[in-house]
Amino acid sequence: MADLGRAALLLTLGLCLYACIVGTVAAVTRKRRLAMSARNALIASFGSTLVATTILVAGFVRNDYSLVYVAETSSRSLGGIYKVSALWGGQEGSLLLWLLILTGYAALAVWLNRNRTRDLVVWVTPVLGGIAVFFSFLLVAVASPFVTQVAPLDGSGLNPSLQNPYMMSHPPFLYLGYVGLAVPFAFAMGALLSGRTDERWIVATRRWTLIAWTALGIGQLLGSHWAYLEVGWGGFYAWDPVENAALMPFLAATAFLHSVMIQEKRGMLKVWNMVLVSLAFCLSIFGTFLTRSGVVNSIHSFAQSSIGAWFLAFIVIAVVFSTVTIVWRLPLLRSTTKLESLISREAVFLYNNLLLVALCLTILWGVAWPILSEAVRGDSVVVGRPYFDFFLRIFGLPLLLLMGVGPLIAWRRASLRGLGATFFWPISIAIGTGVVLLILGAGSSIPGLIAYTFSAFVLAAIGLEFVRGTRARRALSSESWPVAFGSLVGRNRRRYGGYIVHVAIVLFAIGVAGASAYDSVVEGRLAKGEALTVSGYTVRYVGLSERQTDHATEVRAKLAVSKDGKNLGGLEAGKNSYKIAGLEPQVSSEVGVRTDYLTGEDLFVIPETIYDDGSMYFRIFVKPLVNLLWLSGLVFLLGSIIALWPDARVQRRLAVRYEEASSPVRGR
């Protein structure tokens, strides 16, 4: 079976090489049949990668420990579904998942666009093929998941912390996001290489970018929630390099999503968009490099890791390739219009872009500086939370404010007098909120107060937009309020979907500010029957139970929770002990969380220590507003889906535009 797996990967490498080389020849010589052949090879590479992946998954399911990778990341006692997720529990499998998603995306992208933007797609094939060559080469020559050994009796098992439902969702979503950014990048390069630099590449990839971006956002939130539930991972976000690895491409992609609108509407920022899409792609590779090479631990473990140098080389190639291509095509990327005023919607988009990119680059610097310093001076420095928190405030708070300004300000040129009228209500509401909060005592944290005031401003501005739009529709068609609202959103999905995403970001900001500033905690050792009280909650330790599952011993404390004398039912918290033959048992704490869905507050019980006499040491938190973070994830998803939902009218309009753009007489 391992031979078959190796053969499948070798075939993938061959197909991708073919797609890359023959695709380039076909595009240069404009040979249509050759280009089709290259395209088909790229599509076929998905099939062979799928075969390889299936063989590896089968190895996990059959406990085939003659495969080194399976033996290292799985064990006989590992629960059924986690045997599948162990696929991405280590380096080689993660790379295979990358390649699988990449070839899948690539196959779909070139297939869906086979009859449109043909002159552009002939160049997309070799670019995507080239990226896939890198990953399949790694899997064939450097980090093969199909290395065999004399099978040991049992595998060494998946780290217990990874035996968590989030292991099923968080990594795949992140990969869907990371890898998805390759598609807009390939189309951008395709546009440059073919010289077709009109905005068709943007239109063709808008949905791809949105899907990748949404997956990246959701993947990060899932990871946040996971870290929130694990003891000692530093809460929902700790500015860990591995976390930053996902945040950076997300920020670059966010900037890109905004700036392409300017190019579509006003024909500006063409070079900038190319730079952004390249940046987002290179950061996604850099992110994979960070998480997979061990470079964040130390430059020394990087030297030991087999894939680090290859990744570094690939990043250099990607950066040089995109830079050279963009510079070569600069004459084609001239703006058709100029910025008319610094007070206009396009100017606000520009500020938003600068802030997002600045935030992204300062994070990049914070991640790269320790690595560079160690490599150059041999002296490692640590860039910690204060650095990142500082820049998050410096760039994040203005970004929040702009989210409220952007939707209300006019394109091209806004008059100051008009602005006064437009912003009267949002500003009043924001100031009102600020004053009320100050009276309530929120002034203890100045950045928090600013964040809340800005949030009120943004929510008011977005609310105003919805009210205005609905009113206008009612005036037009005399529909009822709900119907008018529905058709308003339905007819402008991209715009109002975007506003809903903005609401999600605001909820997130409120949640972050609230959760970190205002929580309360109590701790103590309890014998059975004793209780702890915090913020009106009383938590009584009722008793201890023990369950034996196939792969772990689960000890649980039964807790009775009440608030202000009212019984709120039971809660469990405890520890799982995973036994693996020949190793010390690995323990994982399972916190007890009770969510108040009305106030968004969490009662969070950490079972610190179980003593021999049956008493337990508990640490109990009350975290207000923290559930806004997770709610924001749902709102974010809703907004993205609305923005993504296919719209027949827009499709027809696009079809006409494709016609015009493909006809010999081009013009805008």
Binding site: G90, S161, D240, V242, H300, S380, P386, E608, T609
Partner: protein
């Protein structure tokens, strides 16, 4: 940019390694690797363990006393971050500030590490 930051935000907690600790005054965020066997109870008199620089076994170690939540991944050989202050040669940690990192990143170094 980094210079700009260090000049503006000098008030933040600096992050240091055990080998740099002696030269620092006031509260810092200490990043290191656990060596030897930890003793004591983090819920009572305090958990006691030694840290040296990450991936540098020859570097000087420092004794840390810590009270509060102990991450599941806390063990000899693990990297962690903890806030606190050096007092009379012992690093007295701020309760509840110990953080270990996502275990997936340990996979790349496992063979040489254990």
């Amino acid at each position: 940019m980094f210079l700009l930051y260090t000049s503006i935000a000098g008030g933040g907690t600096p992050s240091v390694k055990p080998s740099e600790l002696a030269a620092q005054e006031g509260p810092v965020s200490l990043v290191g690797q656990v060596v030897g066997r930890p003793t004591g109870d983090a819920n009572a008199e305090g958990l006691r363990f030694r840290l040296h620089d990450v991936k540098d076994p020859s570097s000087p170690t420092v004794l840390v006393v810590y009270k509060g939540s102990v991450p599941d991944l806390f063990a000899s050989g693990r990297d962690l971050v903890v806030e606190g202050e050096l007092r009379n040669g012992t690093f007295v940690a701020t309760p509840g500030t110990m953080v270990t990192k996502c275990p997936s990143k340990y996979t790349a170094i496992k063979p040489s590490d254990q």
